[in-house]
Amino acid sequence: MEVYDGEFITELEGIARKIRRHSIEMIYEAGSGHPGGSLSAADILAALYFHIMRHDPKKPDWPERDRFVLSKGHAAPALYSVLAEAGYIPVSELSSLRKMGSRLQGHPCMNKTPGVEMSTGSLGHGLAAGNGMALAAKLDRKLYRIFVLCGDGEMDVGETWEAAMLASHFKLDNVTVYIDRNKLQLDGPTEKIMSLEPLSDKWKAFGWHVIEINGHNMKEIIHATNEAKGIKGRPTAIICHTIKGRGVSYMEGSLHFHGKAPSKAEYEQAMKELGGDSK
């Protein structure tokens, strides 16, 4: 197991905090959006864009780049935030989220935003699209990898499992899927709406290498990804146990903030909790 020094991990955690701050600010300014699922995914995104992926924000079309597909497109604020922090778009542009004429659509649009690899928003499409990229990589004998982030609600979608079958059938060991297992979907707890457990066994039965981690622990995210890179002949699913709304006390584990912007008072409190003042 690789050892990472504390300072490096603290740095990544700082990026994740920025993603959370930006996400809340953007959603507050837009007056709508999905804070809960943006916050649960922030640590995974920070690790991907600031450590794991080979990419170049100055060359979004670099053919050798690793690809990231945000299958849970409603976490767009978190994606835009990490793209801004990485340098794909100016941080100042984040406040244009969901506004007329903006490059930052409510859900990711690959033809508008540099760094967005696939247009998503309708759930359950991302893994299959990622598989297509992975097949292309294999055909072209390229070494780039594909990382897909799915919400656990997307495990309801039949196509997720069609894609899971395809990836293992074609031995797509260049695909890694992170499942943001925050255990809440719009209408309620995932186990109440549509039982997913035993989720890990399901992915294993579909031929995947499966790792379960704490999706808010930077070291675990990195170690699991390194393990995935070493697995040959089959794809890897990393079930990331997370907390919806992570980082803002009143949003944590709350259904209320799946798809709702915070009020002014809530926004100010969130900024305080995420370190630093509100604008």
Binding site: N131, A134, E159
Partner: protein, 314 residues
């Protein structure tokens, strides 16, 4: 009239193989129907560039999108009924909206599927595809034109829908007939009325035109192979010069080719018009000819519609 009857599917399969030899960026996906759609020919020639996705059309469309986003020219095939309605969201979200280079070439469209019945006879696919922004919609008239369509669209970027049937169809064109997307060829000139057909109905329009000469009527026949973008110029010119239009399609009259022509004429040049096509009903099992008769897709139906339009012209 006697034309040679040939398979559009066979033409598609053979052309794919030709393209595969010329270009390494071409990949083909199918959903467990490759022996019927004839993508099996490509699979045999280029197994590493063919992906059978199993009976999972939604997954197939998104996988195609990912391949296209990585620079591949992707042909996706299955039956028309499964390649449109069953995966409409995938086509909309991941192919049409991002404007990706995916060519959806589907077979077994319309009621000429025959015995399989209504579950397999899609009569609304043109409607579904027409309304998608960025989508080009083509119905090749016959086997030679199918070859040209496939070669042409392989060179063009963007999402495209190509509809072919199961049955062998009369070859009203040959290899030397020019083909250009968005340019509807006039197959027969005439001054009294215009018959606009697509796909299998074009040969019936030509036969109807012959029949009409017996009544002293000189009919123009247009092969409207590209439904979208539509060749407004040729349609309006024909309406202006002949004063009446009949459309004929193996599709629901609700929102297919005839509707597209009607919309064009309403906004540009009003003439009496009649749409020949499948009424607003589902099909059923039967032999091709029987079904064409029952659902109003015969030469007589076109002739009758022409007389009706001519009556209203006066």
């Amino acid at each position: 009239m006697k034309w040679k009857e040939e398979s559009q599917r066979k033409a598609y399969g053979q052309t794919l193989v030709e393209l595969g030899k010329e270009r390494s960026d071409i990949v083909v996906l199918d959903a467990d129907l490759s022996s019927s759609t004839r993508t099996a020919d490509f699979a045999a020639a280029f197994p590493e560039r063919f992906f059978n996705c199993g009976i999972a059309e939604q997954n197939m469309m998104d996988t195609a999108a990912g391949l296209a986003a990585s620079g591949k020219t992707v042909f996706v095939s299955t039956f028309a009924v499964f390649g449109t309605g069953r995966c409409y969201d995938q086509i909309r979200q991941s192919i049409a909206y991002p404007n990706l280079n995916v060519k959806i070439v589907v077979s077994h469209a319309g009621i000429t599927v025959g015995g399989d019945g209504a579950s397999h006879q899609i009569v609304e696919d043109l409607a579904l595809m027409r309304v998608l922004p960025n989508m080009t919609v083509i119905v090749p008239v016959d086997s030679p034109e199918t070859r040209k369509v496939v070669k042409t669209i392989a060179k063009l970027k963007g999402p495209m829908y190509v509809r072919i049937g199961r049955a062998d169809v009369p070859s009203v064109t040959d290899d030397s007939t020019p083909f250009e997307i968005n340019k509807a060829p006039v197959l027969r000139d005439g001054k009294d009325i215009t018959l606009i057909g697509c796909g299998i109905m074009v040969s019936k329009c030509l036969e109807a035109a012959e029949e009409l000469t017996k009544h002293g009527i000189d009919a123009r026949v247009i092969n409207l192979h590209t439904i979208k973008p539509i060749d407004e110029k040729t349609i309006v010119k024909a309406a202006r010069e002949t004063g009446g239009v009949v459309t004929a399609e193996e599709h629901s009259v609700m929102m297919g080719m005839g509707s597209a022509v009607a919309m064009t004429l309403v906004e540009n040049f009003h003439v009496p018009m009649k749409r020949v096509g499948i009424p607003d009903v589902f099909g059923e099992s039967g032999a091709c000819d029987e079904l064409m008769g029952k659902y109003g897709l015969t030469v007589d139906n076109i002739v009758e519609a022409a007389h009706d339009v001519l009556k209203r012209k006066k």
